[in-house]
């Protein structure tokens, strides 16, 4: 507290009143008192008063003045903890957390035991995940205020966060001993469950189990109690007891897949037969349970006997579920990764259609052939359901024409069912005609305009066919009045909308607009990280400790979320494209027009372009510096003219590598970035990472060959490592052989064929373009993914595989139209 310039009693009293005014938000009065002190010539430069004045000005949103005053005050009184504390508060309000922490530490140097400063510091430390620092601060707080329960809890959590489990448990136990819980004391119950969680994470299983039993009467959340108990018993290997607990959990909730998995482990059910027996028992016991029936379908069926059982189980499941309509397909969608299962599904579905056509109803229990029941045993909706699921099935295996037939039959049967038009739109989408897909989705939406789901789906489909304006009008039917849909949805952090908009702009090559959307998505993620700030005090006070821990861990990994990863991948792709093909200048002069200019004019033009690019880069850097405090309006034109796009791309790569390391895209993009920067070892690292995830990935093949075909000017040691590792990646073969084997192994897959051809024509030059083109003409297109077909046509157009005659192109286009009848890309 000692300031280097202490105030006399009158001024000191005024200063105290300033503090009170600040606390009670009476800002005008506070400023008045400050003025009084400062008008006294002896104290016109009193540090602490100036600092308080600045703080109050900050609350009145006069930021520049605030900073001025505080800095002046600090300069005049470097040894005052008040000044440092105030400066820290200012930094914090501008989200400059690292700076704020430094200020608080400085303040603490002059007043080691100031509770307020310690509390503020602890919040910032946990926000910035300075966990060692957080632990120390919490320790200090406990020593200063042992009577407050928050001190104990806070310290225990800090120890937990740095994995010092034993100490944490000791602290929690000490706290618990002082507690006298009331009946139905929910906070105490949460505390006990948190304590138990720490014990379990520490691996002290026996202790955790005893702890659960001793405190059973006080633990009110029975579900969590049971789940914890099951977890401990299983980890201790006490399978019989665990099984009992898991069975009681299943009785509570038969649909929880996790419980079913636990039950399988407890019963040591390894083989498919034993698992099926388990599921059968459950189905017997719980007649209406869906999960055991569904889970049975997802097992491995290896032998012919088992496969017959699968067929029977699936048959019963489908028949019972047909009358649910569209959701039935959703529940079996995940089976489609297994080719033989798809064949069984197809066979069964077609048989249902035959039954319907013969007048029998697949959903009714099988009646004997000569039934005395009424002859129209066919329920009215059954034909509808069978057509729907067949349409969904054909669409999923890529036979869009067949799918269309069935959905049209369904629409003919019941033209008033809205879901049919949604399904038709989906079939067009998957078949490659986004324009028609949007049209049919609009039709569906118009049939029930009160349905927000339909509205959102329609908005998405409009964005998918690049009708951005129409999409905004559609979305605005449900967004706030008076504000444009784009603005309101951004405010509401509607990430799917931003993501689809970005993609639409990217397709239209409006890179600046796309980047703006990607940055907006990034900002939302930053906001989500910001939002946790208030919970540090709140959760500790309310004792919701388990949820708090869960939230902290969630926030740590938040940028691994699909929406961020998609935005980052998009942004990286755009920056790589901007590096390869920079955007033309404002004057929009193309290469041929530039020929008309004289040399001097050309030079002037080029220097103007360079200046503009440099200005854009500077603005970009400035934007990022001030980003934290003042999020600026993003200008698309500036964004797409950035001078060093590769640096920007690298900035997006960092969080991808941290949080999305299991995604192939991350490393493929890393490779492309390092290729342009000429960093062979980093390229190698990226290729190895893709190899670890998916060794047969088509793009990986192209990357490896590209890397092997280029000579780098590097030190000998580096060259040796490169050669060795590449050799290993290519399975010990040389490049040409590697390519040949890759083609052999994957000759039935069009994407792989394309990459192999590309590699051998462009990089290795072992195949003449005509041979490659012939291979493509002869390729079997049916059942291949649509994007590969489009890629193929593009490559042939560009002349990558030599010049093709018009006739060859037409024949191939015809074949494409047969393989993908709905796609608009081949017209």
């Amino acid at each position: 507290m000692p300031s280097s310039n202490p105030l006399p009693p009158k001024e000191a009293a005024l200063f105290k009143r300033i503090l009170k005014c600040y606390e009670h938000k009476q800002y005008k009065n506070g400023l008045k008192f400050a003025k009084q002190i400062l008008s006294n010539p002896k104290y016109a430069e009193h540090g602490e008063t100036l600092a308080m004045k600045g703080l109050i000005l900050n609350c009145l949103a006069k930021k520049d003045e605030a900073y001025d005053n505080v800095k002046r005050g600090l300069r005049n009184d470097l040894k005052s903890h008040v000044c440092w504390h105030v400066y820290g508060l200012l930094q914090r309000s501008d989200r400059k957390y690292d700076e704020a922490i430094k200020c608080y530490r400085n303040a603490l140097k002059w007043d080691k035991e100031n509770l307020q400063i310690l509390r503020d510091l602890s919040l910032l430390q946990v926000q910035m995940r300075d966990l060692e620092g957080y632990k120390e601060t919490r320790h200090q707080l406990l020593l200063l205020r042992p009577a407050q329960r928050v001190s104990w809890i806070g310290f225990a959590m800090a120890l937990h966060l740095v994995n010092e489990f034993d100490m944490a448990i000791t602290v929690l136990e000490e706290y618990r001993k002082t507690q006298q819980p009331r009946s139905f004391d929910y906070e105490h119950s949460e505390f006990l469950l948190y304590e138990n969680q720490v014990m379990r994470e520490a691996g002290l299983l026996e202790k955790a189990l005893d702890h659960l039993h001793q405190n059973q009467d006080y633990i009110l959340d029975v579900l969590v109690f049971q789940e914890s108990k099951a977890d401990i018993l299983m980890r201790l290997g006490r399978w019989e007891e665990a099984k009992q607990v898991v069975e009681s959990l299943i009785e509570r909730n038969t649909e929880n897949w996790e419980y079913l998995r636990l039950l399988q482990r407890c019963s040591a059910a390894e083989s498919t037969e034993s698992r099926l027996r388990l599921f059968d028992q459950l189905c017997q016991r719980f007649q209406r349970a869906q999960a055991p029936r569904r889970m049975a379908l997802y097992l491995e069926y290896d032998t012919a006997d088992l496969r017959q059982r699968f067929r029977d189980t699936l048959n019963a499941y489908l028949r019972a579920g047909l009358s649910r309509g569209p959701p039935l397909f959703a529940s079996i969608k995940s089976l489609y990764s297994d080719a033989w299962k798809v064949a069984v599904i197809e066979e069964l579905l077609v048989s249902y259609l035959d039954e319907v056509n013969a007048g029998r109803d697949p959903t009714c229990p099988s009646a004997p052939a000569e039934s005395t029941e009424s002859d129209d045993s066919l329920l009215p909706c059954t034909a509808l359901w069978v057509n729907i699921i067949l349409a969904q099935h054909w669409s999923a295996v890529g036979r869009s024409a067949d799918a269309m037939r069935h959905v049209d039959a369904a629409i003919e049967h019941t033209p008033t069912m809205v879901e049919l038009y949604v399904l038709k739109a989906k079939i067009y989408k998957r078949g490659g005609d986004p324009a028609k897909a949007a049209q049919w989705m609009e039709e569906a939406q118009s049939m029930d305009t009160a349905d927000r789901f339909l509205n959102s789906k329609c908005t998405k489909y409009l964005l998918r066919c690049d009708r951005v304006e129409d999409a905004c009008s559609m979305a605005s039917k449900f967004t706030r009045e008076g504000v444009g849909a784009m603005e309101n949805l951004n405010e509401m952090q509607c990430l799917w909308f931003l993501s689809e908009c970005a993609r639409a702009f990217q397709r239209q090559r409006r890179f600046g607009d796309a980047l703006k959307k990607c940055i907006e998505i990034d900002r939302h993620f930053s906001e989500m990280v910001e939002d946790q700030f208030d919970f540090h005090t709140y959760c500790t006070r309310k004792m919701t400790l388990r949820s708090y821990m869960h939230m902290l861990r969630f926030e740590d990994g938040i940028r691994g979320h699909r929406f961020f990863v998609d935005a980052a991948v998009m942004a990286m792709n755009i920056y790589l494209e901007l590096h390869d093909h920079p955007v033309a200048d404002q004057d929009g002069l193309h290469d041929d027009q530039q020929d008309n200019l004289s040399a001097a004019e050309l030079k002037k033009l080029k220097s103007k372009q360079r200046k503009a690019a440099r200005r854009a880069q500077q603005q970009e850097e400035q934007r990022r510096d001030t980003e934290q405090s003042r999020p600026e309006e993003l200008d698309p034109a500036t964004l797409e003219r950035v001078e060093r796009p590769l640096d920007e791309a690298a900035r997006w790569l960092q969080p991808l590598q941290d949080r999305a390391a299991s995604s192939v895209d991350t490393h493929l993009l890393a490779f492309e970035l390092h290729w342009r920067r000429g960093k062979p070892l980093l390229m190698l690292q990226a290729a190895k990472r893709v190899h670890a995830i998916d060794p047969q990935h088509p793009r990986l093949h192209e990357h490896v060959v590209r890397l092997a075909s280029r000579t780098f000017h590097v030190a000998d040691a580096v060259a040796t490592v490169l050669k060795q590792e590449l050799h290993r990646l290519m399975g010990g073969h040389d490049v040409v052989d590697f390519d040949r084997r890759f083609l052999e192994d994957n000759r039935h897959s069009l994407p792989h064929l394309l990459e192999a051809m590309h590699v051998s024509v462009v990089h290795l030059k072992t195949t003449p373009p005509e041979t490659a083109a012939d291979a493509l003409y002869a390729a079997k297109l049916m059942g291949q993914p649509l994007h590969a077909g489009i890629q193929m046509m593009d490559a042939l157009h560009k002349g990558t595989f030599g010049v093709c005659t018009t006739q060859q192109m037409d024949t191939l286009r015809q074949q494409c139209r047969l393989a993908w009848p709905l796609a608009t890309a081949f017209e």
């Binding site: 909706c381 019941t414 033209p415 008033t416 029930d448």
Partner: protein, 155 residues
């Protein structure tokens, strides 16, 4: 399984689709505008939460009497003979009863529509008139007027 629901500006297109498919006659925009105003006199019939039928009526004060006129009452073909029509007609009858001041309930039926004639006769409707060339664009163009008297007969 079967239920009746309101016609709203949000779902009116489903009614339009239904009428397009069920009836050989086309109804104009004014028809649908009016339907939104008649409240309980227009209903959608749901089977398993799908719209499969609908009824639209209006109060008619022609010929010096106050009658309820059924403009459309119909159901998609696969869903007939499931008592949906009965449910809709019973709903209309209950409205008439609650109103208390309606003389009769009437409608037009194309002369060759045997199924409709049998249906309405079951509920006490009688053919009171034949309007020749009632329909403009379909054959046969004649229509019966079926009416059910709602006032008890005075002795």
């Amino acid at each position: 399984m079967i239920a009746l629901g309101q016609v709203t500006p949000h779902n009116i297109k489903q009614l339009k689709k239904l009428n397009q498919v069920v009836f050989p006659v086309a109804y104009n925009d004014k028809f649908y505008k009016d339907v939104l105003e008649v409240g309980e006199l227009a209903k959608l019939a749901y089977y398993n939460d799908i719209v499969v039928g609908a009824v639209c009526c209006r109060v008619d004060t022609s010929e010096g009497r106050r009658r309820l006129y059924i403009m459309t009452l119909g159901c998609l073909a696969p869903y007939r003979r499931l008592t949906i029509g009965t449910l809709m007609l019973e709903h209309v009858l209950s409205i008439c009863e609650r109103d208390g001041k309606l003389d009769a309930l009437y409608l037009h039926v194309q002369v060759n529509n045997e199924a409709a004639l049998a249906f309405y006769r079951k509920f006490g409707f009688e053919v009171i008139e034949t309007k020749e060339q009632y329909y403009k664009k379909i054959e046969p163009a004649d229509a019966y007027v079926l009416e059910k008297n709602l006032r008890p007969k005075e002795e």
